[in-house]
């Protein structure tokens, strides 16, 4: 309790389609964001945005989209394009941080071509597209580690579709695992502050630096220079403005996974973070 000071700042997290896209422990990502905000005296308010709900671009500070089953993904794709498309585009162009995992990531690229049936139109935020190469093509399933921002991200991937990047920048380079398409060692995509990835497991709890990065982007964008976090005043370009937390357990879990994948030096590096 003593670490959790009274909330002085509020961040609004728009959770897109929590009822339809909730397959891969996406709750873990929300929990990680909420708790890490709470410990910095930031209140994270989560607002569910279901099918039919409008998305006003200036109403949220952070957006999250999870992954779902194919049957549930089709009506979501339609809603995303027809109802929320313009608002989401405007928000992303205005540098709102967005995290899209698995199915959500596919929906933010140009299209998803399933093994059978018509293409599913995506929003085209990322210049990328996804192709399912038929029921005989093996799914990309397993633990995955990638480089990110001079460090590593670890997670679990499970996708049938292969994503190919056009001009979009990848989130990172695959160290172990499949990544976007199991061919070019790229994983995920970024555009402005929007991040798409196949990594779940859940992604954020074991990657506290990435979680904090998203929180930083959101607070910086919303509160700018005036933001007061703990005792420090944030400057707009401060890289690590958030008060450090005791993340030994997080990094241990992170390193344990790296070590299981045989990435020993990365594991050692991860343990040295704390």
């Amino acid at each position: 309790m003593k670490r959790e000071s009274a909330p002085r700042l509020t961040l609004k997290l728009g959770h897109l389609y929590p009822d339809q896209l909730n397959l891969y422990g996406d709750r873990g990502n929300i929990l990680a964001l909420r708790r890490r905000c709470q410990q910095r005296g930031i209140e994270l308010r989560v607002i569910s945005l279901g099918i039919g709900d409008a998305l006003a671009p200036d109403e949220y500070d952070l957006l999250f989209i999870g992954g779902g089953q194919d049957r549930e993904q089709a009506p979501v794709a339609r809603d995303l394009y027809e109802v929320k498309g313009i608002g989401l585009w405007a928000a992303i162009e205005d540098d709102m941080p967005v995290l899209a995992v698995c199915g959500g990531y596919q929906l933010l690229s140009h299209y998803y071509r399933p093994a059978q049936g018509p293409d599913m139109r995506g929003l085209g935020v990322f210049d990328a597209w996804t192709i399912h190469k038929g029921p005989r093509a093996p799914r990309c399933v397993g633990d995955i580690a990638i480089t990110w921002n001079g460090s590593t991200l670890v997670g679990f991937e499970n996708h049938g579709g292969r994503t190919y990047l056009g001009t979009a920048q990848p989130l990172g380079t695959v160290l172990k695992g499949y990544g976007n398409n199991a061919e070019d060692r790229s994983e995920g995509a970024m555009y402005r502050n929007a991040y798409g990835t196949y990594m779940h497991g859940s992604l954020l709890p074991k990657n506290p630096h990435f979680t904090d990065y998203l929180i930083t982007l959101a607070t910086r964008r919303t509160y700018g220079l005036q933001a007061q976090l703990s005792q420090n005043e944030i400057r707009a370009n401060d890289v690590e403005p958030l008060a450090p937390l005791d993340d030994r357990l997080e990094w241990e879990a992170h390193a344990a996974l790296l070590e299981r994948m045989g990435l020993h030096s990365a594991a050692n590096a991860a343990l040295q973070v704390t």
Partner: protein, 565 residues
């Protein structure tokens, strides 16, 4: 003699089997060969039975060898080998069972439900055969039959025999194609081991295909309260029996614990129109009284229903059960197991028993005297403490175990083991869908073990558990593990030739390094005061490891013998 044998061989299931055999005969005819006489046909048929005999012999030999040598996989190796030699061995042997077979499938509750059914059938005087716990793929089913076949390729003691097969939800289609069951029970459909099975929808599709191909002579037993399972009955043209709970007192909205109301739901969409189901009563996850507000799709009226469920104690549930045809007379069953999920298992078993016209008395006696299966509430005495093993392999199962443990507000000693071996599912994302929040503040001790102990610890941490309140026993670091394994392999290789299996086991016990789970178990036992109960919540392979460890200490019956009582 020869003639008689070949007559007997024709299985009573008839058409499809005969057809298949005819096809096999034709396809094996080389084009050059001319017409065959009666004698040739007989020889050919004899050839097939020879093949079955070969299959049984080889299978049993391999099985015996594998057990003798202490290899893994002994619970299905005989069946797998026999199937290799004679692909239709399961069909042939199962056709000889006088009372046919029953299959139980679904995400949760397969083992307990088939245990209940077997107990009721035994009580009514039948000879019940089962596949071994956990060996519920085709190999395990084949194994159960092959291990009871005689060397000439026929079953022994098949009079009054009935088989109760627990079948993995992913192979049920194959299983029903090989053996047409008299009764097919679907317990429920939850999210389980996604990386192995694909998604919940793909299982539902596979089940629907199973039903489409199912003989109308089979009786379907379905969970009315689970929309994904109940839907299977809508298109089936044979007899369908539903079971369900009609007790408003169990509604989640009536529960004090608010966390429980936000449980994961794995099925929520009406398959006919795509609208979300709404609930008038919800028991747990997506089980309850549901209806579709748009197309009117509604929970079917159950034929067997629990009208009142009351927990006398942690593992004593008193259930009043009414069956459709005897409206007036409710039967009371005292269930020796904890949790609402076991009430559903009992209901499924009662319904299956009714489908087979088994009376109430043997059914009730069978269920009430049921000894919990391996890891389903099994009780073991260890160093003055009582261990309760509660398998939890998916969010719904986990939530129900936690709810059962913590609903009384008592403080519990808990050991959780999370593994990510392929039988557990390599993806551990599902732990984030468990409501571990309900355990916060109610654990006297909490020990976390298994290959992903650290992930589980993070889950508890983000639920608000203080790090001082949990003890984490992670597996040994990878490099060290490799070195240890090498050393053990070297040591045990020299012993392979020794005659006695027991000696080898004893030697291994002394030399096997104390891995994470053993250490976790010891820590948890020692942190639990003498005379108190330690609740162990493992995933599937964690349960196997715990069992092996207890067995090594001479505390449980041997796994191999754990099958028939």
């Amino acid at each position: 003699m020869e003639q008689q044998r070949s007559l007997e061989e024709t299985p009573p299931t008839g058409v499809s089997v005969a057809h298949k055999r005819g096809w096999r005969r034709n396809s094996s005819n080389a084009p050059g060969k001319t017409s065959r006489g009666k004698a040739a046909r007989k020889a050919k048929r004899q050839g097939i039975s020879l093949r079955a005999s070969m299959a049984v012999l080889t299978g049993r030999l391999v099985g015996a060898l594998s057990r003798r040598l202490g290899f893994g996989g002994g619970t299905s190796i005989a069946g797998l080998t026999a199937q290799r030699i004679s692909p239709d061995i399961v069909k042939r042997l199962a056709a000889e069972l006088e009372y046919g077979s029953i299959m139980v499938t679904g995400t949760n509750g397969k083992t307990t439900t088939s245990g209940f059914i077997a107990a009721a059938l035994r009580e009514s005087g039948l000879r019940v055969w089962r596949n071994r716990e956990g060996s519920n793929l085709m190999g395990g089913i084949a194994n159960a039959l092959v291990m009871r076949a005689l060397p000439h390729g026929r079953l022994r003691r098949k009079g009054r025999a009935i088989a109760v097969f627990e079948v993995d939800e992913a192979v049920i289609k194959k299983a029903t194609q090989a053996v047409s069951p008299r009764v097919l029970v679907f317990t429920n459909l939850f999210r389980d081991q996604l990386d192995r099975y694909g998604e919940v929808d793909s299982i539902a599709t596979r089940w629907q295909q199973t039903i489409n191909a199912l003989s109308t002579n089979s009786i379907l037993v379905l969970n009315a309260d689970d929309p994904a399972t109940a839907d299977l009955g809508r298109t089936f043209e044979g007899q369908v029996l539903y079971f369900g709970i009609d007790d408003p007192a169990l509604d989640l909205a009536a529960q004090p614990d608010t966390a429980a109301r936000h449980q994961v739901m794995d099925t929520r969409v009406c398959p006919q129109c795509g609208r979300d189901y709404e609930y008038t009563l919800r028991y747990y996850s997506h089980l309850g009284h549901y209806f579709c507000p748009s197309c009117g799709n509604i929970r079917p009226q159950p034929d067997v229903r629990a009208t009142r469920v009351h927990a006398d104690a942690f593992d004593r549930m008193r259930i009043n059960i009414t069956s459709g045809d005897r409206e007036a007379k409710a039967q009371e069953i005292v269930l020796p197991l904890p949790g609402l999920y076991n009430v559903y298992n009992a209901l499924a078993a009662v319904t299956a028993a009714q489908a087979l016209h088994i009376g109430w008395e043997p059914t009730i006696i069978g269920i009430e005297q049921f000894k919990p299966a391996f890891g389903r509430g099994e009780r073991v005495q260890v160093e003055g403490r009582t261990l309760r093993l509660l398998l939890a392999k998916n969010p719904t199962g986990y939530n129900e175990v936690l709810r059962t443990l913590f609903s009384e507000g008592a403080s519990r000693h808990v050991l959780c083991i999370l593994n990510d071996n392929s039988a557990d599912g390599r993806d551990v994302s599902w732990i984030w869908d468990i409501d571990v929040e309900q355990a916060i503040g109610h654990t006297a001790t909490l020990v976390l073990g298994g290959t992903r102990a650290l992930d589980l610890a993070l889950r508890f941490k983000y639920a608000g558990m203080s790090q001082d309140a949990m003890m984490i026993v992670p597996p040994a670091p990878l490099r060290a593990l490799k070195r240890e394994a090498l050393r053990v392999n070297r040591n045990s290789k020299g012993r392979k030739n020794k005659q006695s299996v027991n000696i080898e086991k004893g030697a291994l016990a002394a030399e096997t390094p104390r891995d994470g789970i053993t250490a976790a178990l010891d820590a948890a036992i020692h942190m639990t005061p003498i005379g108190e109960t330690l609740f162990v919540i493992p995933t599937y392979t964690g349960l196997l490891e715990i069992h092996r460890e207890l067995e090594r200490r001479g505390l449980t019956p041997h796994y191999w013998e754990g099958q028939d009582r």
